[in-house]
Amino acid sequence: MAPISYHLILSGILFTIGVMGVLLRRNTIIIFMAIELMLNAVNLSFVALARHLGSMDGQLIVLFVMAVAAAEAAVGLAIILMVFRNKETINADELKLMRW
């Protein structure tokens, strides 16, 4: 079985890709997808750690996280939809009504 560090490194990489996605992409939906990616990266590390430590808690948490991610997706997409309906754009750069 691959040592635990491989899994952690993989989840680390996935996490950073997610973060980069949030920072670089313009489209809000893609930003949201990047966030989901980060959450899944964390799920991966949870599962790996659970197996490594031999305790069920890790697996349990992944279920919770998935449920929460789903709820978040629903609400998030609704908000993005609302913004799109009002401003015809979901490009993060245009959403600058409030500043300074």
Binding site: G18, L39, G76, I79, L95, L97, M98
Partner: protein
């Protein structure tokens, strides 16, 4: 047949009541005509009142539930009182506010109640997962609430920004939980504490702690993570801003304090340096940027960041007095801010929010009572005795001095002087400028008047006779054990 494990319903009571009220509100809303919508608010207030009474009665007890992942201790109950206070005052303020803004009452009240459920869970959770769950329930409800005024573009934008960054921050928080779990082998705070006290801090644990600080930092609006606050607070409807500024911040601090002061108390040395820097950064950034605002609501947003800085000072001060000071200051901060936002709502009219400094001009002598209330809140936020703001700051700075963080206290004190300038600017425009804005008569909005009155009386009463409430906050923090 799967035997259900014995469930300690008593500990769940403070969470069940608001949830149930929320559902009731939703159902009642279906069959209701538009103009009686305000009755929903009174139902919500009733529910919260019951929760508050229940929490008050449960103050003394200390029972773990769900084998250690959830507790009923006076620490949680104290925070419940804060959440109910925030909820009730927001409801009172919202009754009239919903008329001037076409927000659909049903969902609005229900979502607030569900957010309070999330807060209660968060405050009482003694297990990282429960904290995460409570956090997410609260956050999702508040994301929607931020954007509930659909017609206003600012509200949409606020919701979007809050959602994206909130999710982003939960990602970090979760990653921290994972690393903590990896390092200590458990997600129960009690077990983690034991592990940390025996083995001290491994690097994995420290990285996890760092991630936790980032996650909580966002929720609490600490310095580098505060950038979302001004836009979201300004965009969201004012009642929701008040609710977020007080309720959400209190809940975040509840979990933050429980995890750091209680569980990770053993390795205080490692993380207090970071929090020290965060505290100074938060206070200074919050205060200095507030100086140049000319929108009162946005100024209050920055001031809430500054107050998060003072609360971080209490966190840095640590165990003996820090925790109690933190809890007391949250009460004080809650009262002052709710009152201040209440006055902003009172000054606003249908269509013109009147949130600029100029809109407050000449208010002092045309609406003496309203202006007097605002003066009390502003002076209390500055920390002028004999108001509750001063006692709160006194409590925090004495904790800092007792723990030996002298320079932190000095920086905190100097920040209060900077804060004095922009709080006093409100008083200046009210009393020393001429103006012709004519806000609606307060008597036409009884609920709002009552909310402001409660906040004002609370600010003065707890300021002049703080002894009882200080003792209560100290005992409830010690209940953490």
């Amino acid at each position: 047949m799967i035997k259900l494990p014995p469930v300690n319903w008593l500990s769940l009571l403070p969470a069940i009541i608001p949830a149930f009220t929320g559902i009731l509100v939703l159902c009642w809303d279906l069959g209701m005509k538009n103009e009686e919508r305000h009755r929903l608010a009174w139902l919500g207030i009733l529910g919260l009142a019951i929760t508050a009474v229940v929490s008050f009665c449960l103050l003394g007890r200390n029972e773990p539930a769900f084998n250690g992942s959830y507790t009923l201790d006076s620490y949680a109950m104290f925070f419940n009182l804060i959440f109910c206070l925030a909820g009730i005052l927001t409801f009172l303020m919202s009754i009239q506010y919903l008329h001037t803004s076409d927000i659909h009452a049903g969902e609005y009240y229900a979502l607030i109640l569900f957010a309070i459920v999330g807060m209660v869970v968060m405050a009482a959770a003694t297990d990282l997962v429960n904290i995460f769950l409570g956090l997410e329930t609260m956050s999702i409800a508040v994301y929607v609430l931020a954007g509930i005024w659909r017609q206003r573009l600012q509200s949409n934008e606020a919701a979007l920004k809050y959602f994206l960054l909130g999710a982003f921050a939960s990602g970090f928080l979760l990653y921290g939980i994972a690393l903590l779990y990896g390092a200590t082998g458990s997600i129960q705070l009690g077990k983690i504490a034991m592990h940390v006290n025996e083995h001290g801090a491994s690097t994995i644990l420290l990285i996890g702690v760092a991630m936790l600080i980032v996650g909580f930092g966002f929720k609490v609006a600490a310095a580098p993570f505060h950038v979302w606050t001004p836009d979201v607070y300004e965009g969201a409807p004012t009642t929701i801003t008040a609710f977020m500024a007080v309720g959400v911040k209190a809940a975040a601090f509840a979990a933050f304090a429980r995890v750091f002061l209680h569980t990770l108390g053993g390795i205080h040395g490692q993380w207090e340096g970071i929090l020290w820097v965060l505290a100074v950064l938060t206070m200074t950034v919050g205060n200095i940027t507030a100086l140049v605002q000319n929108n009162v609501k946005r100024m209050l947003a920055y001031s809430s960041i500054a107050h998060a800085g003072y609360l971080l000072v209490a966190m840095v001060a640590g165990k003996e007095l820090g925790g109690a000071a933190l809890m007391y200051y949250l009460v004080a901060y809650g009262l002052m801010n709710l009152g201040a936002f209440g006055v902003i709502i009172a000054v606003g009219r249908r269509g013109e929010p009147n949130e600029e400094f100029a809109d407050f001009a000449g208010l002092g002598f045309r609406y003496p009572l309203l202006a007097l209330a605002m003066t009390v809140f502003m002076l209390s936020l500055t920390g002028i005795p004999p108001l509750v703001g001063f006692v709160g700051k006194f409590y925090i700075f004495s904790a800092a001095v007792k723990a030996g963080y002298l320079w932190l206290a000095v920086i905190g004190v100097l920040n209060s002087v900077i804060s004095a300038y922009y709080y006093i600017r409100v008083i200046v425009s009210m009393y020393m400028h001429e103006g012709d804005k004519v806000p609606e008569k307060l008597s036409a909005r009884p609920a709002l008047a009552v909310a402001i009155l409660i906040a004002a009386v609370g600010t003065i009463w707890l300021g002049v006779f703080p002894s009882a409430s200080m003792a209560l906050s100290r005992l409830s923090f010690l209940a953490l054990g």
